[in-house]
C-alpha cells in the first residue's frame, strides 16, 4: 500500500488478557519502529527492526511486551497479561534505509488505540 497500515484501529481488552497489534510497513522499507503515545504526550520509542532483526528493544517497558517481524515485512507487537497502564496509542513507523545509514524520515501509521478495562 501507499502508507503504513495498522490494525486494529481500536482494541478494548480486559485486564489480564493478551493482545496483538499488527503493522504493515511501506513496501520495501527496511526499518520498522514501534512507539507508544500516551494522551497529550509525544510518541515514546519501544523497539526497532532492521529487516527481520530486532536491533533495539530498549524502550519496551517490561517483559510482557514482545515484538516480532519474522519475514522482514509485517510486524506484530504483543502485550501479555495487559494492565491498565498499557492503555495508549501504539504507533508503527517505517523508513526506507537502515538507521545510521541515512537520516531518512520515519513515516507513521495512524496507530492502534488500546484501552484496558
Amino acid at each position: 500500500g501507499a502508507g503504513v497500515s495498522q490494525s486494529p484501529r481500536y482494541k478494548v481488552a480486559k485486564r489480564g488478557q493478551d493482545v496483538a497489534l499488527r503493522c504493515d510497513p511501506i513496501s520495501g522499507h527496511v526499518s520498522l519502529f514501534w512507539y507508544q503515545q500516551a494522551l497529550g504526550q509525544g510518541p515514546e520509542f519501544l523497539t526497532y527492526f532492521q529487516n527481520e532483526a530486532q536491533l533495539d528493544k530498549s524502550g519496551l517497558p517490561s517483559d510482557r511486551f514482545f515484538a516480532e517481524r519474522p519475514e522482514g515485512s509485517v510486524s506484530t507487537l504483543k502485550i501479555q497479561r495487559t494492565q491498565q497502564e498499557d492503555s495508549a496509542v501504539y504507533l508503527c513507523a517505517s523508513s526506507k534505509f537502515p538507521q545510521g545509514a541515512s537520516n531518512q524520515p520515519q513515516h507513521f501509521g495512524d496507530g492502534t488505540r488500546l484501552s484496558i478495562l
Partner: protein
C-alpha cells in the same frame, strides 16, 4: 540524556496572525531534527528534516529553522486548516527519535 522541550504547550491564533513554535533540545551528536504534524486520531505526518545549525526549510506557510540549541517552526498567515499538534523530534547517536510533547495549535477564522 537526550531531551526535547517544546513551547508553548498550546497556542490560539486568529487566521492570518503569524507566530512561532519553539523546540529546545539537548542531544549527544545531532544526526537530524524532525518536525511532524499530528491531527486528532491520526499518526504524525512528516514535515521537515534539519541537519545542521543555520539550515532553513519551507513548505507553504511553514518555515523551520535550526540553531545549535533550538529549532523554530514559523507559521505565516495561518489558516484554520493549519490547526493540529506540531511535534519536534531529535535523532542522536543512538539513532532512535526522541519526541517533545508537542504544541497544540488552534487557528480561528
Amino acid at each position: 540524556e537526550d531531551q526535547v522541550t517544546q513551547s508553548p504547550e498550546a497556542l490560539r491564533l486568529q487566521e492570518g496572525e503569524s507566530s512561532s513554535l519553539n523546540c529546545s533540545y539537548t542531544v549527544s551528536g545531532l544526526r537530524g531534527l524532525f518536525w511532524y504534524r499530528q491531527d486528532p486520531g491520526k499518526g504524525p505526518e512528516f514535515l521537515f528534516t534539519l541537519y545542521s545549525a543555520g539550515e532553513e526549510k519551507e513548505k507553504e506557510r511553514l518555515k523551520a529553522t535550526l540553531t545549535k540549541k533550538e529549532s523554530f517552526l514559523h507559521i505565516t498567515a495561518p489558516k484554520p486548516e493549519d490547526s493540529a499538534t506540531y511535534l519536534c523530534a531529535v535523532q542522536g547517536l543512538r539513532d532512535k527519535l526522541i519526541f517533545g510533547t508537542g504544541t497544540r495549535l488552534q487557528v480561528f477564522p
